[in-house]
């Protein structure tokens, strides 16, 4: 069973379709990248996976999207449970204006964990997974907003890991960072692949090429091509993919 299976998925804002009949399977424990020009629907599709689109008034979704075999746009589904299992990291680092510790503990607390020892343990292991522990282990009470941009983004990743998700969605999570921080996050993501299923949106074709196992190229809401990353970049089948990749590499 794939981690995520989409079938004829159409997502529209009002009458305007932003994602047009996408069918794709995302395998477990791997990194999948979505690429494509701005406005092609990458973010929309990503937000559909953990139903972050729900809060937008007139969004319409048809088709099927199954996670671990379960239809997620089912009335019976608890969105909160879904999001606990499908974590998300955003473009801009968005730590809460609380301490580092409270940022990480926020999710576990939501989901009913209150014991100090247990929380301590979660905070430590999440920060370690996000390769941030060594930098902040003595500053856990420090406001998260005092960290640098790159550190904040890793904190947000740690925060997402703290609720123990199966899938991690990342929407251009390095776009706001400098190259060195970007590199760090890329390395982190590569190590996370062994435990999590990761879906990332990126503008940066180099990044997609460097990091992902498989890659989907979107254009105007359509999934033009979806293949092993090697294959897609070396030898794209669709002419539009080829042109996009070349235009970008200059």
């Amino acid at each position: 069973m794939s981690a995520i299976e989409m079938k004829d998925l159409i997502v529209s804002y009002g009458q305007q379709p932003a994602v047009k009949s996408v069918t794709m399977d995302v395998p477990k424990q791997s990194i999948t990248a979505f690429i494509g020009p701005s406005g092609c629907g990458k973010s929309t599709l990503l937000r559909t996976i953990n139903r972050m689109n729900d809060s937008i008034a007139d969004v319409n979704i048809t088709g099927s999207i199954r996670i671990m075999g379960h239809e997620i746009y089912d009335d019976q589904i608890s969105v909160e449970m879904l999001r606990k299992r499908v974590g998300m990291v955003f473009q801009q680092p968005n730590p809460f204006p609380k301490s580092i510790y409270d940022n990480i503990a926020y999710g576990p607390r939501l989901h009913g964990i209150t014991k100090k020892a247990e929380l301590d343990q979660i905070v430590e292991s999440s920060l370690k997974s996000a390769v941030l522990w060594d930098e902040v282990k003595d500053l856990l009470k420090k406001p998260a907003l005092q960290l640098s941009g790159g550190q904040q983004q890793r904190l947000c990743i740690a925060r997402a890991l703290a609720v123990n998700p199966d899938i991690l969605l990342m929407d251009e999570s390095t776009a706001a960072l400098d190259p060195l921080s970007t590199l760090k996050i890329e390395e982190l993501v590569k190590t996370l692949r062994h435990t999590y299923t990761i879906v990332m949106v990126t503008h940066n074709l180099h990044q997609a090429a460097r990091v992902s196992d498989q890659c989907g190229f979107f254009l105007n809401g359509e999934l033009v091509e979806y293949d092993q990353t090697e294959k897609l970049f070396r030898n794209p089948e669709d002419e539009r993919t080829e042109r996009y990749i070349e235009g970008r590499f200059g």
């Binding site: 953990n50 972050m52 809060s55 008034a57 969105v79 909160e80 449970m81 879904l82 999001r83 606990k84 974590g87 998300m88 955003f90 801009q92 968005n94 730590p95 809460f96 204006p97 609380k98 926020y106 999710g107 939501l110 989901h111 907003l145 947000c156 925060r159 997402a160 609720v163």
Partner: protein
């Protein structure tokens, strides 16, 4: 192209004198000074007029006395009953406006669709624009009779009715300003919490509220000082009986109502009773001043940088 102006004069030197660049800051500074002069004017007026009053009435007795009867023999100038009446009405008003206003702000900013919020917010703001005199008669002719049926024994003039009306009036101050503060909390923070599986209530209370706390406190303070300073509602609906009473169902008098009473009344100017309105005004001013200073400190302490 590059050489076009290099021939003669220095290229970066302007020959136009720009006196307006020097005049404007000065002019604008003068505008800003008007507010300082206003304060000086208020303090000067209140203090000089009060000094004459305090020559005859001991300041300590004024501040600690529990009988206020400047116009009824034997006269007595103990400001506590007026203070008490003011605080009672303010407290009642805040008990209504703070929770209702804050809950409204949360609803508008976190629950309501933008369309609904766009309509509801200005509608609520009308409440703050209704002339206070209208509220006064609304309290007297509508709220009080309702209270009298619900709570037999309610006086015609009572602190509760006036407090409720003041409370209604200041709801939009709390709701609008708090909503602004909550709206200013970046969407990304909310998304962060939603993505962790938080419900809307949890996002509102645990993420948005703390981040907007400084703005919310400012709105509380503004509402509070509005309630303290409210005049016409209490003049009309709370009565003119300065007393220390445990029951909000009885008639009281507030500081502002007293000032209006005297300025519309029969007291000869220059008399001791007339001077007392300045002493009361000064007390009122000092209270709002302290309130603002405390609020500035508190809200600074809670200011989140995000």
């Amino acid at each position: 192209m590059m050489n076009k102006e290099l021939s003669g004069e220095h290229p970066f030197r302007s020959n136009k004198p720009r006196s307006i660049e020097y005049a404007m800051p000065v002019l604008l500074f003068l505008c800003a000074l008007v507010s300082i002069f206003t304060t000086i004017g208020i303090v000067y007026t209140l203090v000089t007029e009060s000094v004459a009053f305090f020559k005859e009435v001991n300041v300590f007795k004024f501040l600690s006395g529990t009988t206020w009867a400047p116009l009824i023999q034997p006269v007595s100038f103990g400001v506590i009953p007026l203070l008490f009446g003011t605080l009672l009405v303010t407290l009642i008003a805040c008990c209504i406006a703070l929770p209702v206003g804050l809950a409204t702000a949360i609803y508008l900013s976190e629950y309501a669709s933008p369309k609904v919020a766009k309509i509801v917010k200005p509608v609520l703001e009308v409440l703050a624009g209704v002339p206070t005199i209208v509220y006064g008669y609304f309290a007297l002719s509508f709220i009080t009779p309702v209270l009298q049926t619900l709570l037999p024994g309610t006086s015609l003039f009572n602190a509760l009715s006036a407090g409720i009306a003041v409370g209604i009036m200041i709801i939009p101050m709390v709701s609008s300003l708090s909503e602004d503060a909550m709206k200013a909390v970046p969407k990304s923070l909310r998304h962060g919490a939603y993505a962790l599986g938080a419900t809307r209530f949890e996002v509102a209370i645990q993420v948005v509220l703390p981040a907007a706390l400084s703005g919310i406190i400012s709105s509380f303070v503004l509402a509070f000082s509005r309630a303290i300073g409210e005049t016409m509602i209490v003049t009309v609906a709370a009565g003119a009986t300065p007393q220390l009473t445990a029951s909000p169902l009885e008639s009281i008098q507030t500081m502002t109502a007293y000032i209006v009473q005297v300025s519309l009344g029969d007291t000869p100017h220059g008399s001791l009773a007339y001077g007392s309105i300045f002493a009361v005004g000064l007390t009122l001013f000092v209270i709002t001043l302290l309130l603002n200073i405390v609020a500035a400190a508190v809200s600074k302490r809670f200011r989140e940088v995000y």
